[in-house]
Assembly symmetry: C2
Homo-oligomer: 182 residues x 2
């Protein structure tokens, strides 16, 4: 997010035919909730289109990349590596430490899908569970980012949007941002 150290979300490869939509939602959630970049690995690489399209229409900055070498990206990352897993330490116990690390440098947030290689657990500076219950990598990512930024991501400004949603009690209002500025 602008004014903060960079946050990259790495989506590991998903099971083809099963998790395509989840991967798209990981990318969209990363963008909406303050991350700067999503990298989709292996089979997840096919899901970049929607995220690029939403960024074009609703604004950035937000980068969308793919990789065939996610393990190398994790191993060589210069910064703090967080791996979201239900087996990890509880978020309420480690979030303050992670915020402190993020104040010092960039963060890589690894989001799994199919079985995650043990090397990822070992390389991660923090294995973090949003509860120790099985639920959703999208839900975990969302709660993690909201707590990382302590809600500041909700006020994020978007550059160069073609359209802007105006919050309303009832109904839908979408405007051209040039009109809104008048």
């Amino acid at each position: 997010m602008q004014g903060d150290n960079h946050v990259t979300v790495l989506r590991l490869g998903h099971r083809p035919g099963r998790d395509e939509r989840m991967t798209t939602h990981v990318g969209l959630t990363a963008r909406a909730l303050g991350a700067d970049r999503v990298v989709m690995a292996g089979s997840a690489s096919s899901r970049t289109d929607t995220v690029v399209d939403i960024t074009d229409r609703f604004g950035g900055p937000f980068e969308v990349e793919t990789t065939d070498e996610p393990k190398r990206l994790i191993r060589d990352f210069e910064g703090t590596v967080v791996h979201l897993t239900m087996y990890g330490e509880q978020i309420q116990d480690v979030e303050a430490d992670i915020r402190a690390a993020h104040a010092e440098g960039p963060l890589l947030v690894v989001v799994g899908a199919e079985k995650v290689p043990f090397e990822v657990y070992e390389r991660a500076d923090y294995n973090v569970g949003v509860t120790s219950q099985p639920h959703s990598e999208v839900a975990s990512l969302a709660v993690f980012l909201d707590r990382l930024y302590e809600g500041r991501e909700l006020d994020r400004e978007w550059e160069d949007p073609d359209r802007v949603v105006v919050p309303m009690e009832t109904g839908k209002k979408v405007v051209d941002p040039n009109d809104r500025e008048e």
Copy 2:
């Protein structure tokens, strides 16, 4: 959640062949993050099995139901109705009011998928956006519940689990709860 007024999550029908996994994740997220019940409507009704199975294995209480009449459920609900939508008021602006309403009575949280009928917007006491950006109903539900309970859901106790994950810095540890109590 035990000790709080009931929270029901209603998942509206999804697009067949596209959002099955999202519906499962809505159900699992509702359970993990403190809701008491999920109701899956129409085409979403086929996705109850995984949520029931996880509740059997990891504990409850958590109810899983289906309905063919989601509009009636919303219309007749005796309590406060919240509809999560990117077009709604911003969560940071209304969450305190919703917490106050929840202190007084039960809450119904409506999560859409395909186009949501306008009646839902009209009946809802609060149309709430977790950002005004397109992302994920699972992410919105997760942030909403975490803020509703102000993090208390992370310490939720589970009754009658067959297995319990023990949080760890590295690796995976799953125990039989009877062993853990020794």
